[in-house]
């Protein structure tokens, strides 16, 4: 697609983007990655002098939303330039080649960059009937094994490849699994989200190019710098939660006043992602700011955790009486609710708030 031998520095020059812009990008990228500012020149030097790494993008059981998310980063943003500046040697949706030529391009990229190329996967892998999802007559699982064999690392783009996502949801008719259940001998970084935030993806790639390694990961394989805090802790509506001021429906006075959406099913307390900080659509807003609760899309099994519109305390079919007590307890517990809610989700049976219903709690049940 792009002449591979060009360095990013040469490409910047060709596109008339100044080194100041680039320096600024590297400085703010260092901040994003929670690196000391002194690392900015190192990031610049590494990005500028590197030949663009070969990237093979595999799309399995997915909706292409992840590709859309990344490629629709503001144009022509430096982020999109960095993305363009990798050598994207295979991407079914984007590449001009088709059929045998497309597969030949993938095989050539693999042969030329054996052991060094990055594999990006969006979509889960069906283990049921191989015919559920094939490309060029090859099942997804065969393709994944074949391509990952010579990869330096695998980046799972989106919740489907990271945790199985929607295809993995009950009853999982295709026997879908995440990449990590198939590839066990390669470094894997999970960048979940439905879809993930574009800057997170570009920063993971920038980190890899700069340091030759993946960023520090949490216990679910996600970069800690982006998934280290939950949405709730960074939410601008948090003070309303602490005061116990909740919207009871999407059009009541509380909703109009911007009160907390916990009772309307917001999954912010149990969802670890950077939406509240980095936001979406070039920093415009994020779902909660737009008036809808967080769906928890960057967490495993988010589709099977009960209704999107039931509060966390009832998400696993608790009795309605527990709702009021749960919300009240949540208001009092503050930060503890996030932890408790998460434990509840893990157990999948009992709620975090076991106090008996309080008749005069001042909270009406959200039936």
């Amino acid at each position: 697609m792009i002449r591979r031998q060009q360095t990013l520095g040469e490409r910047l020059e060709e596109r008339g983007i100044s080194r100041r812009s680039f320096l600024k990008f590297c400085t703010t990228t260092a901040s994003l990655l929670a690196l000391p500012p002194a690392f900015a020149p190192r990031i610049a030097e590494a990005l500028e002098s590197q030949r663009r790494p070969s990237v093979i993008w595999l799309s399995f059981q997915e909706c292409t939303g992840c590709s859309e998310s990344i490629l629709r980063a503001g144009s022509p943003s430096i982020e999109s330039l960095i993305f363009e500046a990798i050598s994207l040697d295979y991407h079914e949706t984007l590449q001009a080649a088709a059929g045998h030529q497309a597969e030949a391009a993938r095989e050539q990229a693999m042969a030329e960059n054996m052991g060094k190329y990055l594999v990006v996967v969006d979509g889960s892998v069906p283990l049921g009937n191989p015919g559920f999802s094939t490309v060029a007559g090859q099942s997804n699982v065969e393709t994944l094994k074949q391509v990952a064999k010579g990869a330096a690392a695998v980046i799972c783009m989106g919740t489907c490849s990271a945790f199985g996502g929607i295809p993995y949801a009950k009853p999982n008719p295709t026997g879908a699994v995440p990449v990590s259940e198939i590839i066990t001998d390669k470094p894997i970084v999970n960048v979940p989200g439905c879809p993930p935030i574009p800057a997170v993806m570009t920063s993971v790639i920038a980190h890899y190019i700069t340091f030759g390694s993946l960023p520090e990961l949490d216990d679910l394989g996600r970069p800690k710098v982006f998934y280290g805090q939950n949405i709730h802790d960074r939410c601008y509506r948090r003070p309303f939660y602490e005061r116990g001021q909740f919207a009871q429906s999407f059009d009541d006075e509380g909703a109009k006043a911007g009160w907390c959406l916990y009772k309307l099913g917001c999954k912010g307390p149990t969802t670890y992602n950077a939406c509240a900080v980095l936001k979406w659509n070039e920093g415009t807003s994020f779902p909660i700011e737009a008036g809808h609760g967080c769906l928890g899309c960057s967490e495993p099994n988010f589709w099977d955790k009960g209704s999107f519109y039931a509060p966390l305390s009832t998400a696993t079919e608790l009795g309605s009486g527990t709702v009021a007590a749960g919300v009240l307890a949540g208001a009092v517990l503050g930060a503890g609710a996030g932890y408790a809610g998460r434990k509840m989700q893990e157990k999948g049976k009992t709620g975090p708030f076991e106090a008996p219903p309080v008749a005069d709690a001042g909270q009406k049940e959200n039936s």
Binding site: G9, L12, E13, I17, S18, R19, R20, S21, L23, K24, F25, T27, T28, A30, S31, A34, P36, P37, A38, A40, P41, G74, S77, I78, P239, F240, E242, R243, G244, Q245, E282, G283, T284, A331, V332, G334
Partner: protein, 140 residues
């Protein structure tokens, strides 16, 4: 009993105490710059600080002689504080969103300098322009 929102906000407004710590870090870095020429950068977005504390910090540093605006994939502002060698640098993106705020302890922030690669490209561009002018003059 529910916590009182005003009380929560008052407690938060009271601050993190980081403002004075940052000023100490600036003082130490400035001392090193004066003695050895070593430069330093503090990333303010990585430090928890209330808006009030941030305002106090900026007010404490005061304003110096230089204020520069840079248009590079969004607006950046570089301001010399009342203490020579201490600069406040703010980066915004093309949508004017704040992307980073830094205190640089240096004789000249790197972003202000013309960059070597840009200088080389500019030299080539100017030479081409002169060639075009010469060609036009010859043609006329």
């Amino acid at each position: 009993m529910r916590p009182d929102l005003n009380e929560v906000l008052r407690r938060r407004a009271a601050g993190t105490g980081n403002m004075v710590l940052v000023l100490h870090e600036v003082a130490h870095a400035l001392d090193r710059l004066a003695r050895t020429g070593e430069t330093h950068v503090i990333d303010l977005s990585s430090l928890p600080m209330t808006p009030v504390e941030l305002q106090q910090l900026i007010a404490s540093l005061g304003a110096g002689e230089v204020r520069a605006a840079i248009e590079a994939e969004g607006r950046s502002e570089v301001t010399e504080t009342g203490f020579s060698g201490v600069w406040l640098v703010t980066h915004r993106d093309t949508d004017d969103m704040l992307r980073g705020r830094y205190i640089e302890i240096t004789p000249l922030p790197e972003i202000l300098r013309s960059q070597d690669a840009d200088i080389r490209a500019a030299a080539a561009r100017l030479a081409r322009k002169l060639d075009q002018i010469s060609d036009l003059e010859e043609a006329s």
